[in-house]
């Protein structure tokens, strides 16, 4: 459950990046966040994992008010949230296995537990045969699948994806959408920021549209 009440985020410039946003996203929802470049999509997602603090308003994630969260509590919030980026953010010097294991190790998970889960997560994205490769030896689509495996290996309540297919072609994008849908089917709330309207035509879901930081439409899909 994600709730925003009159949230405004200003970086100090003339106009705020996000303005007076009030949104409710129930657990298990699948939501597209769309809008032109600079509309505030990234800012919106970043506030959800406490990378930015709202200037005004309240944000509740899983009934926890994260508006004034103490920095020592941020790690525990992030353990419930998987994040996927356009540029993957993989460690080039580490193997595929290590990249995915990283998320579990960071949470202090036991070693045998780590190897089991990493294998499962990589199998989920179809890359269990690439364990010992380095990210740069793989295609962009494969790298993004590793990043998704890293986000999902911790069984997050929420999955945030910021233009995850921005650098990928249609075929690969569809593969990745399948992964998001599978995660969503298991109960993970998914927020997907994208310019790409074709995605929502293929997989109709709730669409939140931002314009200059304001919420202009919030369409529920008939399919969900």
């Amino acid at each position: 459950m994600i709730q925003l009440f009159n949230v405004t985020k200003s970086y100090g410039g003339e106009s705020a990046a996000v303005k007076d946003l009030t949104i409710q996203i129930p657990k298990g929802d699948f939501v597209y966040v769309t809008g032109a470049s600079g509309a505030g999509k990234t800012t919106f997602l970043r506030m959800l994992y406490a990378a930015e603090k709202p200037t005004k308003g309240q944000i509740l994630v899983n009934n926890q008010n994260i508006t004034r969260i103490r920095s020592s509590q941020i790690p525990y919030l992030r353990r419930k949230i998987g994040v996927v980026f356009q540029d993957f953010k993989l460690l080039q010097s580490r193997t595929v296995y290590e990249n995915v294991a990283f998320a579990l190790e960071a949470q202090g998970k036991k070693r045998y537990e780590v190897s089991k889960k990493v294998y499962q997560a990589l199998k989920e994205v179809g890359l269990e045969h690439r364990l010992q490769r380095k990210p740069l030896e793989l295609s962009g689509g494969e790298q993004q699948r590793i990043a998704i495996a890293r986000a999902l290996v911790v069984d997050p309540l929420i999955l945030l994806a910021d233009e995850p297919s921005g650098n990928l072609d249609m075929e690969v994008t569809l593969d990745i959408m399948e992964l998001f849908k599978k995660a969503n089917a298991r109960g993970t709330t998914v927020l997907l920021a994208t310019h790409d309207h074709s995605l929502h035509q293929r997989f109709p879901r709730r669409v939140i549209t931002l314009e200059k930081g304001k919420l202009i439409t919030d369409q529920q899909s008939h399919h969900s």
Partner: protein, 298 residues
């Protein structure tokens, strides 16, 4: 817990293997700084030792107007021995003095034949306790002597010893200043070296924070890395010092301005060696801490 510790060590060691150049730069910087500071320390310790050897000979000799009688002597002796500054008292009777004089004259001793054997004055030789072997201590003893017995003449430690002590004090002061300056310089360089390694790994730090690693969890491997580098730096500097010291001793045995017996050079005690290595570890940890503060933030 054990799992975490193993993980931290694995991470720290992997990091060092991954950036061997930066890592060796940090170790070498610390080694050079520690070795330099330790060299200062050794110079001071050895000069101090030399000074202590020389000042051991500082004593006050009081020549008496009249030799005390056999009955007076024990009382006087006790009084002098009770001076808080005095370690040992030796009484030289006129005949003792004459005997010494004779032995010094050796072949010419016959010159003294027929001379009154009480010609030379009786004297007390006062050895001072170590901490009073300076001008101040001598002055105090002289004052006490003046109030106790009839002194005809006094002889005591030469002025140059006083100057030498001033020199040692100054040396100690300069070493302290230079030493702490060096330590700060080392800290600065180490911290910057570690900052470079952190900069090289900023992606990793960012991703760790992103996937929910706690501050502690992010920092500990880097602190450990700093500590390990400091440990190595300390050991390297110790090895370097030990080898140089050994070579110095060997050289000085064959040719040097001081004979080997004079030159009983001191090296660091095992405790001091341990301190040096611990100082390296602290230096590494501090260096990491100061640079981590800049880099790891939520």
């Amino acid at each position: 817990m054990l799992e975490n510790i193993r993980y931290f060590f694995r991470r720290a060691i992997r990091n060092m293997q991954q950036w061997p150049l930066l890592c060796s730069a940090a170790i070498l910087t610390m080694a050079v700084a520690l070795a330099t500071v330790a060299t200062f320390f050794l110079v001071v310790v050895n000069v101090e030792q030399l000074a202590a050897n020389w000042t051991r000979e500082i004593q006050v000799i009081a020549y008496l107007e009249d030799a005390p009688t056999a009955r007076e002597l024990p009382g006087l002796f006790a009084k002098l021995e009770n001076f808080p500054e005095v370690e040992k008292v030796k009484y030289i009777s006129p005949s003792d003095a004459m005997a010494r004089f004779k032995s010094r004259l050796a072949d010419e001793a016959s010159l003294l034949e027929g001379v009154d054997r009480n010609l030379l004055p009786a004297s007390f030789e006062l050895m001072l306790k170590a901490k009073f072997r300076n001008q101040d201590g001598i002055d105090r003893v002289i004052e006490r002597l003046d109030n106790t017995i009839n002194v005809e003449d006094l002889r005591y430690g030469q002025k140059w010893l006083e100057r030498f002590n001033t020199f040692v004090g100054m040396l100690r002061f300069i070493s302290l200043i230079l030493g702490s300056f060096l330590i700060f310089a080392a800290l600065f360089i180490v911290s910057n070296t570690i900052k470079l390694t952190l900069y090289a790994r900023r992606d990793e730090l960012e991703i760790m924070a992103l996937v929910g690693a706690t501050m502690r969890f992010i920092k500990i491997p880097f602190l450990l890395e700093g500590a390990l580098q400091g440990l190595l730096g300390g050991v390297v500097s110790l090895g370097f010092l030990a080898i140089s010291f050994h070579l110095l001793i060997k050289r000085s045995l064959t040719s040097f301005w001081l004979t080997p017996t004079d030159l009983n050079l001191l090296f660091m005690t095992p405790g001091q060696q341990l301190m040096l290595v611990i100082a390296g570890v602290m230096l590494g940890i501090l260096g990491s801490l100061t640079s981590l503060r800049r880099f790891v933030r939520f």
